[in-house]
Amino acid sequence: MMGSFNRASYLALPEVQGFITYLSSVIKNRNGFSHQYINRRSKKNYTFNSQDHALNQYSWPEGKNSFKETERTLEDLQSQLRFSLKQRDEKMTLAACLYSNGVACSP
């Protein structure tokens, strides 16, 4: 395993530059990208052709929280964690980390 990783050198590689351009076009829906899959549990068929199209169908857990709802939860958690770090509060930081780590919070 290499010991260090230089950001600028990696991003300057031609194939990485090419991939960044390609990924941008996928996100902006400018290259006709399409994808579909069937959820193993619900058997529901998902089809999408852009990031926006995928986000509109997002739900986690499936059938419950929309992307907006998940985003709000993550924003709250982010505020909590950043506030705890700023205060240098060890217990609050640990608690926020445990929650973001997916500690299933069932006492």
């Binding site: 395993m1 390609y22 990208f33 709250d76 950043r82 506030f83 060890e90 608690a95 780590n101 069932s106």
Partner: protein, 134 residues
């Protein structure tokens, strides 16, 4: 009070019993934001890097993405599309290959552990209360 805690949660609780989690996260965020990242710091156990911790780093850093098996699978699929379109031969370009990590030692995925009362009460508050916005 018993809580269901994944492997990383248990590691964090053990770590917090003797060392500063605040400093651990600050050091990791500083390293990850550097122009040259010393990867060995993460592989030698000084700093922590795995799917769960990328979720923590993504919350404390402005420009850091989570990276778990779902993200890897999605990226691999898009990379394959890109390689097909650009006629680049996959194994000639290792820079955009996503390496596999060594197989993990078997560990119980979830286990019940005892969390000390102060942290447990804070965890409860975390679920519905955000002091930063109060």
């Amino acid at each position: 009070m018993g809580w269901r805690v994944a492997h990383n949660g248990q590691w964090l609780i053990n770590y917090a019993s003797t060392q500063s989690v605040v400093e651990l996260l600050e050091d990791a965020a500083f390293e990850l934001a550097s122009e040259t990242v010393y990867i060995k710091l993460f592989s030698r156990g000084q700093l922590r890097m795995n799917a769960a911790f990328t979720k923590v780093y993504s919350l404390i850093m402005d420009d850091f993405l989570i990276y778990d098996s779902r993200v890897a699978a999605a990226l691999c699929m898009i990379i394959v599309h890109y390689l097909e379109k650009s006629a680049i031969r996959l194994f000639q370009k290792r820079s955009i290959c996503i390496p596999c990590l060594p197989k993990k030692a078997p560990i119980p995925l979830l286990q019940r552990i005892e969390i000390q009362a102060p942290v447990a009460s804070i965890l409860q508050k975390c679920m519905g209360v955000n002091p930063a916005t109060r």
